[in-house]
Assembly symmetry: C2
Homo-oligomer: 164 residues x 2
């Protein structure tokens, strides 16, 4: 039984463990692979409108996501989210659950659309999942991501209008 | 004779006059139309890698632009710029000059591509100019900009790889 909850500061050590593993790899997120814990806390928890955690029945943090306006002022009705699932929780539908939850939360918070700015083209599993959940690839950005192993690879902009 | 120079703090009152007129209208930039002078200084001068001014032979500021990484870390080889030309200096090629200058500067600073994230579709003059200067519309974002007069309108993502 997986449930999603608003992030609480006591979740941070578990959340940071998930983020650190993913950011250090440098394969899916633009954040510097050398990002500090304080900087990660800033971008994932402090700067966003809200952050969440997915937990199993034993209260283990399986995944996390944030939601924030993608642009200031006159572009702030479009939100942006980032999602991370721990390695040990793959193939349990956690990313899918978090993305559905984020769309519900986005509408509740007044957002009208959701935009992912830099979906790494080699992250095929994520691309397929977002497409399945109604996101369209609206742009291909040539060489826009510097993959730690593969060098410069394309990235996608993905977008979904949320029904209101 | 129009020349382009690195921004100096003494240029700020003139630059702010240009920015204020454009931001208050709410037709082309996402920044809140109610943005404060301090906040404008932060986004146009402090946060970017560099800012510039275009001046005429009498040292009057005709336009301004900034250049900054569009994403952190592994996306920081793609830059983003914003350009503003004063009303009294229109149709003199100032925007075109600044955009050419910014591409030169971007390459000098090590950027490999330039991306505009939210070109308002109703800003047809700008869209045409960027296209003329080699930028492609890589995405249309439905309703992504809340135009002060026209309500929700589409915005474009525009992208250009810089020859190195």
């Amino acid at each position: 039984m997986i449930t999603i909850h608003p992030f609480k500061e006591q979740d941070w050590p578990s959340v940071w463990r998930l983020l650190e593993a993913v950011f250090r790899l440098g394969e899916t997120y633009a954040f510097s692979p050398g990002i500090s814990e304080a900087e990660a806390h800033k971008v994932w928890i402090e700067a966003p409108t809200a952050a969440y955690v997915a937990k199993d029945s034993e209260n283990t943090v399986l995944g996390t996501y944030f939601i924030k306006p993608n642009q200031p002022g006159l572009g702030s009705h479009v939100c942006n989210c980032g999602y991370i699932v721990g390695d040990s929780a793959r193939r349990k539908g956690v990313a899918s659950m978090m993305c559905e939850h984020s769309q519900y939360e986005a509408k509740r918070l007044g957002f009208r659309a959701m935009q992912f700015n830099l979906v790494v083209s080699t992250n095929e599993e994520a691309v397929r999942l977002w497409q399945k959940l109604g996101f369209e690839i609206v742009a291909t950005l040539p060489g826009a991501f510097k993959h730690a192993k593969k060098g410069f690879v394309d990235a996608f902009v993905m977008y979904k209008q949320l029904e209101t």
